[in-house]
């Protein structure tokens, strides 16, 4: 399993030159009696791909929900771009530059692929209701300007053919891809990906990996990635946090994590 070819890593981990984008300090979250997250701290540096892994129900998705304001932790703080963040509404996270995809695809089912991705640009469009009524003129110009950007994303993700298809009818894998497109359209600083490759076959995972790497390298987008395919995690990520039962059991570069006995016991199982 360690026969990866060309898995050289950029030496980012702990690189002091990299700025810290987000830091989670001693966060705990529980629902009634269920402790989803217990006292977790880690950071995400600008420009890195940070993987979050762990067994099922470890609290990974909950962690993303905490980061973008959907859940409010009972304890702990979140520092975003150097500022400690107060309790906030989910829509504020979006305007601060956090975008995400969802574990259970959360596309807008009644809309076409194009509209779904356009919807990612909502925050960037400003023409008011009266311009929209008229359409001709500023509203149309704005729409076209953003449409261009969206078409770039569509080209990038190679989903031209399904541009006008309502997403509800797309197969699962393509839906995941559209969802990525929608998040990309937000031009986020931090992109949270929750199992982007679940339900894909190898070839599709390869495509998806490529997209993720490109986004990271070309646009410099920081990425937090949850994924169960260890191959992907090992190859793509710069650093990995491992959660188990809501607690952090390891944090570090992929090789290190992979070698950790705690991780093997809790997550990878014997065969890895």
């Amino acid at each position: 399993m360690n026969a990866y070819v060309g898995a050289e890593k950029l030496p980012v981990a702990g690189d002091p030159e990299r700025e810290e984008l987000l830091r989670v300090d001693n966060v705990s979250l529980s629902f009634g009696g269920v402790k989803a997250i217990t006292d977790i701290s880690f950071d995400i540096l600008k420009g890195e791909i940070r993987a979050i892994i762990g067994p099922n129900g470890a609290g990974k998705t909950s962690m993303l929900n905490v980061i973008n304001g959907f859940y409010h932790p009972q304890e702990g703080t979140i520092t975003w771009q150097g500022k400690v963040r107060r309790k906030m509404k989910p829509y504020e996270a979006a305007s601060q530059g956090i975008a995400r995809t969802f574990q259970n695809v959360a596309l807008f089912k009644g809309m076409t692929t194009l509209d779904n991705i356009m919807s990612g640009r909502s925050l960037k469009m400003h023409k008011n209701f009266f311009w929209q009524l008229l359409w001709r003129g500023p509203a149309e110009r704005e729409e076209i300007e953003h449409r261009r950007k969206v078409e770039d994303i569509i080209d990038f993700l190679e989903i031209q053919a399904i541009r006008k298809t309502p997403v509800g009818r797309l197969p699962y894998g393509l839906q995941k891809r559209v969802e990525l497109g929608r998040a990309l359209a937000m031009e986020p600083d931090l992109l949270l990906l929750d199992e982007p490759m679940a339900g894909m076959n190898l070839e599709e995972k390869e495509d998806m990996s490529r997209f993720i790497i490109d986004v990271n390298q070309e646009f410099g987008t920081t990425i937090a990635l949850i994924e169960h395919d260890m191959g992907v995690v090992m190859d793509l990520s710069d650093r990995v946090v491992v959660l188990d039962y809501g607690k952090k059991i390891a944090d570090g570069p992929p090789e290190e994590v992979q070698a950790s006995q705690a991780v093997i016991d809790a997550y990878l199982g014997v065969s890895h």
Partner: protein
């Protein structure tokens, strides 16, 4: 063979984003407008204009209004009738306060009042969702109906409790009141409906329309993408109520001539909801199809027995009409839950691949 889109390439995003990007559709729309503005006025009799076309257009507009809220923003409302009533009563009050102002202007202004009322009743939508919200919109329905009865000021303390429409002219033609000819009223209603339908289609294909659909399809995801749910929903309530309000005002000014609170009852709300759903949620064209079906079908059904020369009582016809309408509603829902608009699309798709089955 008849319906070929192939070969029509869209060379710019403008063209691709046009309301009717395909040539056949453009021609179709032109033909429909030609029929509406020229052919019908030239050929139709008063009954057709006054009892079929005018109500049909009024209902279409109301259905568009409700469609904005329910079809596009996903907030099910059963209070449409009352919001239409607010428009009607507001327009009536405005005509008594400003007797010299053009009624069309007043009708268009009256929508603002129902927009405000609609937005107020939209407030709970932040917390209450789905069918629960639908039932709470009934609160609006019954409360407003009660206001129309209890607040005498709204109907100028008429002993009858009803509002009656004064005669008003525009450009020397009487357009409201009993003396207005059906033709004049038809033109007014048609113009308002077409203009509003056009404007709202613009909104629906742009940023705002999209934000409504986002809320409809998955409100949590929409919120996580930066849509402010309350603001967006309230806007949908306001815009929808505006359109409904205008439709309600047109209903009394250019169709019924007089209205009682019961004209804006829950029955009306349901009627409009039917139109929206059978026409197709989230489709402006569907609103017209739905309105045509729900308004015209019963009239046709009632006419059938006498046309066939069968002698059955008026009430038996009515009962049968009820049964047939109920059955047809179920039938169409089964055939295509997405309404006539989708049926129409499927038909087009079949035409496109014709003569192959798929």
């Amino acid at each position: 063979m008849f319906y070929r889109e192939a070969g029509q390439f869209k060379t710019s995003y403008e063209k691709d984003q046009a309301l009717f990007p395909i040539r056949q559709d453009k021609i179709g729309l032109g033909v429909i407008l030609l029929i509406a503005f020229v052919v019908i006025p030239l050929t139709a009799n008063d009954f057709f204009l006054a009892s079929i076309m005018i109500p049909f257009l009024v209902f279409s507009l109301a259905a568009i209004g409700l469609n904005v809220l329910t079809g596009f923003c996903g907030q099910l409302s059963l209070g449409t009738g009352a919001f239409m009533g607010v428009g009607a009563y507001a327009a009536y009050k405005l005509t008594t306060i400003f007797p010299d102002v053009n009624v069309i202007l007043l009708v268009l202004t009256s929508g603002i009042f129902s927009a405000i009322v609609g937005a107020i009743f939209g407030l709970p939508s932040l917390r209450i969702k789905g069918l629960y919200l639908a039932v709470t919109t009934l609160a609006a329905q019954f409360f407003l109906e009660w206001c129309f009865i209890r607040i005498g000021w709204l109907y100028n303390y008429n002993a009858s409790g009803a509002i009656e429409i004064p005669t008003r002219e525009m450009l020397g033609v009487v357009i409201s009141g009993a003396e207005a000819t059906p033709l004049a009223r038809y033109f007014v209603v048609l113009s308002i409906t077409v203009v509003i339908a056009f404007l709202i289609s613009n909104v629906l294909r742009g940023r705002i329309g999209r934000s409504w659909m986002m809320i409809r399809d998955m409100d949590i995801a929409a919120e996580l993408m930066g849509i402010r749910p309350l603001q967006t929903k309230l806007m949908a309530f306001a815009v929808s109520s505006y359109i409904c309000g205008v439709a309600g005002a047109m209903m009394v000014f250019f169709w019924l001539n007089a209205a009682e609170p019961s004209s804006y009852s829950i029955t009306l709300s349901f009627q409009i909801l039917f139109m929206v759903i059978l026409g197709g949620l989230g489709s402006v064209g569907g609103a017209f199809m739905g309105a045509a079906f729900i308004w015209i079908l019963p009239i046709v059904l009632r006419a059938i027995p006498s046309m066939l020369g069968v002698d059955i009582g008026a009430e038996t016809v009515e009962h049968l009409a009820f049964m047939v309408i109920g059955a047809l509603i179920i039938f169409f829902l089964i055939v295509e839950p997405h309404g006539f608009a989708r049926l129409w699309q499927i038909a087009k798709q079949k035409l496109r691949v014709w003569p192959f089955p798929y």
